[in-house]
């Protein structure tokens, strides 16, 4: 594949590897995409396959630091796991290794994947390669920044409510959230198990497709893993659009309208649709995600896992001290919220109701997909925002997940594509499709790409490889 050719020499020629490492480390001073960068660590996976036939042979890639790569740290951006070194690799990473790819580092993320800015990482600060005063998005912000800046041809991220697509959108690249269960979660640190999936970020659609087909497939080690269902149905040409976007930045609305016009120009039939469910996506999503987080993060108690206090009066105090020192503000907030909605007396009001409304969301999307082949929405209702107090509050960030979290609740695949520029910053658009229609999404992205190309940010790495 032509797009990959330029990357093959990184590991073939020691001089080029040294040059590559130096360039990345140099750019990193400004960007902060990686929590750990070491191209020497990951040795290529060996199997009986003919070496030259490996499709990703010697291709470097980056991995979000909540996905296990043997020998690398697995911090989840948290003080709780700052010193944890993974003894094994995630299935997705193993499969990439078998195909010849080599992980060069672990990327920064919001602590345990909770956030939309990567500013919730306790271990580093990642900036947007288009404007260093702004966030790269989150929670897979490090992966998005590294790909956008040309440090790697692709990266793995995880997407629980938009954590691959939103940073892809903020950095002006492609981000695929596959169908729930199509990519094994074995080796992905659990946050909200019924919603999350490992996803891929890249500047190139062909690479995205190759990586997706490399990592997808049934894995007995993941309880919710599924066989890929291939559909014979040819991908259709009808796109549902939302005529009325509320609470969305006018600059994003403008790009959205332009994208819909481009769809028509490219031969699609554009059909206005109503998504009433957008009113309840955020309450349903955050009820379920927080509830599952409170259960999944119960394992961090300073004994089995996690930061250990020097002393404690009794076992309970040991656990409390560990969690107090190990977790950041956003993680504590979500654990408390999740514990509250699961408490006896409140469960029917919140958790059970949210699960029933999740059925409503699935049913409404099923109905819409009888009429259209894709749904087009913005990825995020605002432009990439500033670091710190000039940006969005934690609550504003949560309510802004409405377009992306819809796909996680229904389990369907979704793809962030570049949707043009506004005030020098990228704006991302999202395509949704029925389950297992990843190829149809990528085909549509290919059709849009001449009109909406993946631009290079000012910090793009000059690679003379």
């Amino acid at each position: 594949m032509q797009a990959l050719d330029q990357w093959k020499s990184v590991f073939r020629d020691p001089d080029k590897k040294a040059y590559y490492s130096k360039e990345v480390i140099d750019k990193e001073k400004k960007l902060g995409a990686f929590l750990e960068f070491d191209p020497e660590k990951d040795t290529p996976g060996s199997n009986n396959e003919n070496e030259s036939s490996k499709p990703l042979k010697n291709i470097p890639y980056a991995v979000k630091d909540n996905i296990a790569v043997k020998g690398f740290h697995l911090t989840c951006g948290s003080k709780m796991l700052e010193n944890l070194v993974s003894p094994y690799s995630a299935t997705a990473v193993e499969k990439l290794g078998m195909a010849g790819a080599r992980a060069v580092g672990k990327t920064n993320c919001d602590e345990f994947g909770m956030g939309s800015s990567t500013d919730n990482s306790a271990l580093g600060r990642t900036s947007n390669p288009w404007d260093l005063s702004r966030v790269a998005g989150g929670s897979s912000g490090g992966s998005a920044a590294a790909v956008a800046a040309g440090m790697v041809p692709f990266a793995l991220g995880s997407d629980t409510g938009g954590s691959v697509r939103q940073p892809a959108s903020f950095c002006g690249i492609y981000g695929l959230k596959p169908t729930y269960g199509s990519v094994s979660r074995y080796g992905l640190v659990a946050y909200a198990s019924s919603l999350e999936v490992i996803g891929i970020l890249s500047r190139n659609i062909e690479i995205l497709q190759l990586v997706y087909h490399t990592i997808a497939g049934f894995d007995p080690r993941d309880h919710s893993s599924r066989e890929i269902q291939r559909t014979e149905k040819p991908s259709g040409k009808t796109i549902g659009i939302l005529p009325d976007l509320q609470d969305t930045d006018p600059l994003v609305v403008e790009q959205y309208k332009k994208t819909a016009e481009i769809a028509e120009k490219a031969g699609y039939t554009v059909k206005p649709i109503t998504l009433k469910i957008l009113d309840i996506v955020i309450p349903v999503y955050y009820t379920i995600a927080a509830a599952e987080a409170s259960a999944n993060l119960a394992r961090y108690n300073g004994i089995r896992y996690g930061l250990r206090p020097d002393y404690a009066e009794n076992p309970e105090e040991l656990v409390r001290k560990s969690r107090d020192a190990g977790f950041g503000d956003e993680v504590k907030l979500r654990i408390l919220l999740g514990t509250y909605v699961l408490r006896s007396g409140f469960q029917d009001q919140y958790y059970l109701r949210a699960q029933k409304l999740r059925t409503v969301i699935r049913n409404e999307l099923d109905k819409i997909f009888q009429e259209v082949d894709y749904i087009l929405t913005p990825v995020f209702p605002a432009l990439p925002f500033l670091h710190g107090e000039g940006g969005l509050t934690s609550f504003q960030q949560k309510t802004a997940d409405l377009f992306t979290a819809t796909a996680n609740l229904a389990g369907i695949p979704a793809l962030a594509i570049p949707g043009g520029m506004a005030e020098g910053l990228p704006v991302g658009m999202q395509l949704l499709a029925p389950a297992f229609q990843e190829d149809a999404l990528l085909e549509a992205a290919e059709i849009f790409s001449p009109y909406l190309p993946c631009e290079k940010p000012p910090l793009y790495m000059d690679r003379r490889l």
């Binding site: 003894p87 019924s194 955020i282 955050y286 002393y311 040991l318 408390l336 059925t359």
Partner: protein, 92 residues
């Protein structure tokens, strides 16, 4: 959210709260719960809950013995070891 409710929840979640955090968390959680209240306006009668997007049934592995996986690499992550035991602070 009442302070008492927050404190009970924190107790259940094994989260230690300090005086500085309490008012901020009370306000933040109250704001989120208020946002959640829109769920009450939607009809949920006769609906089954969705727990996972596609999972139809539980899948279990065969109940057979397997090889232990990487015990040494796991133990290497412990802060302190005594032989092959993990040392934790004396809490009794």
């Amino acid at each position: 959210m009442k302070r008492e409710e927050l404190e009970i929840t924190a107790e259940l979640a094994y989260i230690a709260l300090n005086e500085r955090e309490i008012p901020r968390l009370q306000e933040e959680i109250a704001k989120i719960l208020e946002h959640f209240s829109i769920m009450e306006k939607w009809e949920i009668n006769n609906l089954q809950p969705t727990t996972h997007a596609f999972m139809e049934k539980n899948r279990l592995r065969n109940d057979t013995a397997g090889e232990p996986q990487y015990p040494d690499a796991l133990l290497a992550n412990a802060e302190e070891l005594e032989d092959r035991f993990i040392v934790i602070p004396n809490v009794l």
